[in-house]
Symmetry: C2
């Protein structure tokens, strides 16, 4: 394959005509595909249906300690569910607080409380002139929405294959007291799918923050979401590393079963030092009398322990793999060598990240949409929705079937090619 | 019965000796009773067990509109659950937003958002020098905790048998722009059990707030929680009245099924004008992708409509009545005519409110505790935990059995008598 950059104007124009015809034909098919969000597929949701039988009208509704899950109490979550989530998050039970149905909601609440009341007694952030968060990019749009909503200034940090640019992270965190946090998806990162290397985790744990209320927001959303049996990423335990480095309170870890059981009907958890957990509880008691303990019991009894979770996730992987492979096959076949895009081939998580030629992402997403295929908005993976290179596109293969994903990727590569050609023509010959 | 105030010193002293003996005997029994919170009794929780069979592994998990409740979506709640809660709250479906498991959490979030972002675009409260809430007293301790947590100044408003002192409410709301809200439990009020008269509701709806971002926080927690078939309170529809008065956005209504199905595993809702609901949703989308829709479906399918809820609540009433009556019988028999206490006899809700002689509540609660009976802390029903008269005690009869409630009230009246005698002796003869 010849790279598009090496084609003559005539070759580009002829290719454009060809591809335009194919695109018009594709449009005519009236496709309707939504690859915008990391939504589990229907067959994935079906896997968890037996969990709905675990609690029924004949069940003993008491916890191991004898507390009635149907009544008020257990603000920190029932013991068996704390143990389950602790296993998933590789921490001790006492480091875990079970919350509602959404880890995003815990992150929002954590930032919200810091804005109004500070962190473990520090000055409330809303009283400060400036509060900044570091944002490894590309990253998770909903993280950025939270910080944007609260008026927190976001600073882009390049995300490499082994984690964020740690020189830059250290430079900011260790010198700028207005830097209060960093958003991390350390394992099977959203959207690139990379995992942080041991060295990166150790450098995180060894930060010497200028701000006492600096925290690492460690969103371990995909901690057990492997795609392959033989290709699995593992990351160092950040809580342990922080302890070792004398920074026991520096990290908040978030996780949930939204992509294990049911999206919206799972359980979520925050893990941190006991001191942090106690502080959060002392605030949380104003907000709620307690979370849904019946659903906690349902999860704890169904999975029993972390091994139950892992076995369950193998079933998810079996369904997810063909979808990822369908995308990767088309990308490999159609785009290799053309010089108009690069993409990731992750070992887990929910996304494939595609980098188009600079200045092409928005146009590609728009072109896909015109033909009936909705992608995550270009730019969404960057703070303020602004990708400085207009290059990154997040592909979420989980919801459609493998066949639909293949068809969708056919359309996607068509749009990538067309937009790239138009860009090259414009750049090289637009001023003739 | 002779009022204690009319007894001589010798009569009081002799009575004290008698009662002290009885108290020591009671202490010896090693009672362990918790009447501190409005916790449903076990037999009440049992009523809702069949709901846990409604959703199982063979269920069609789609809403009437075909949306999969197991996946992301429906931030505002599934249609059938919005309809159910709308019926419960006497509003239209479009006025209702379904949230998580706790209406307290919605109230907290509503105040929290107002602090950080204002109300429908007004100046964020955290940017203002002073924000005040009116607090009808006695009232619900957890309301007061929320406003205290956010540093909002609370102003006591006397609560009469037909509602708050509306002259005072109008005086504050219509003239002081720093007054941003008022906490109301309009039906079977916590703790007094009174309901607002039509005139009071109309006066609420006709307020002319000095602050554009003033809202009525209408916690209709006990809207369907009648105790009797033939003695039921009904209140005017505040949302309709506000519309009629040209104040369509002035009220937020809160409710949940925490005391209908399971405490902590119910569904909660906020009802308001469509404009308010849309504004809240536009903010809520930063906080969460959606709430637990499977639990919404469970509730909607089990109850079908508001009539299902009402029939269900009759079963609760049958269990609650004997508990309330056990308390009232003892109070009537033991305290009538003694001049040392008054109490309410509500038609619904969860509480009986007891007013001791001034300066006696704390001592009574402490004396009960010493004998193994935990009551809501004296003062808790007032902002900052400070009952200016040290008089009000909230009795929560729901959790113990009727027999336990009778025994508990025996102990309670003993403590009331003893403390009252000590107070009278101290007041009248303490300086001799």
């Amino acid at each position: 394959m010849k790279a598009y950059q090496d084609l003559t104007r005539e070759e580009l124009l002829s290719l454009k005509t060809q591809l335009s015809d194919a695109y018009e034909e594709a449009k005519g098919k009236g496709l309707k595909l939504d690859m915008s969000r990391g939504k589990p597929g229907i067959s994935q949701l079906d896997i968890s249906m037996p969990m709905l039988d675990v609690i029924n009208s004949t069940s003993d509704m008491r916890t191991a300690l004898g507390n009635d899950t149907r009544n008020y109490g257990d603000l920190d979550g029932i013991g068996e569910c704390r143990r389950l989530m602790a296993g998933m998050m590789s921490v001790n039970k006492d480091n875990v607080l079970i919350c509602g149905n959404s880890s995003l909601n815990i992150m929002y609440d954590t930032v919200s409380r810091s804005m109004m009341k500070g962190v473990n007694g520090s000055t409330p952030w809303c009283k400060l002139d400036k509060v900044k968060f570091l944002c490894p990019v590309p990253g998770y749009d909903r993280h950025f929405k939270i910080t944007e909503y609260f008026g927190i200034e976001m600073i882009n940090i390049p995300l490499y294959n082994d984690g964020p640019d740690m020189d830059m992270v250290e430079q900011y965190v260790n010198n700028d007291a207005s830097v209060k946090g960093i958003w991390c998806v350390p394992k099977y990162s959203n959207p690139t799918g990379i995992s942080y290397s041991d060295e990166v985790v150790k450098r995180f744990a060894s930060l010497k923050p200028a701000a006492e209320d600096f925290r690492i927001y460690w969103d371990n959303a995909y901690c057990i979401h492997h795609l392959y049996e033989d290709r699995q990423d593992e990351i160092l335990n950040i809580l342990e590393e922080c302890e070792k480095s004398g920074n026991p309170n520096m990290v908040y870890i978030f996780a949930s079963t939204s992509k294990v059981t049911f999206s919206g009907s799972g359980v979520s958890a925050i893990a941190s030092s006991v001191e942090n957990i106690n502080y959060i509880q002392s605030q949380m008691t104003v907000q709620t009398i307690g979370h849904d303990k019946i659903n906690q019991l349902r999860h704890a009894r169904y999975f029993k322990d972390v091994n139950g979770l892992k076995a369950h996730m193998q079933k998810h992987a079996a369904l997810m793999r063909p979808k990822f492979e369908a995308v990767l096959q088309v990308l490999d076949r159609e785009l290799t060598g053309l010089g108009i895009g690069t993409w990731t081939n992750p070992n887990g998580g929910y996304f494939i990240s595609f980098d188009a030629m600079e200045g092409c992402a928005k146009a590609i997403v728009a072109k896909c949409k015109e033909a009936g295929m909705v992608l995550t908005g270009a730019g969404a993976t960057f703070p303020y929705g602004k990708d400085p290179k207009d290059s990154n596109i997040r592909i979420a293969p989980s919801f459609p079937t493998p066949e639909e994903m293949a068809a969708a990727t056919d359309l996607f590569v068509l749009c990538v090619k067309l937009v790239s050609i138009e860009k090259l023509l414009e750049d090289n010959y637009g001023r003739i």
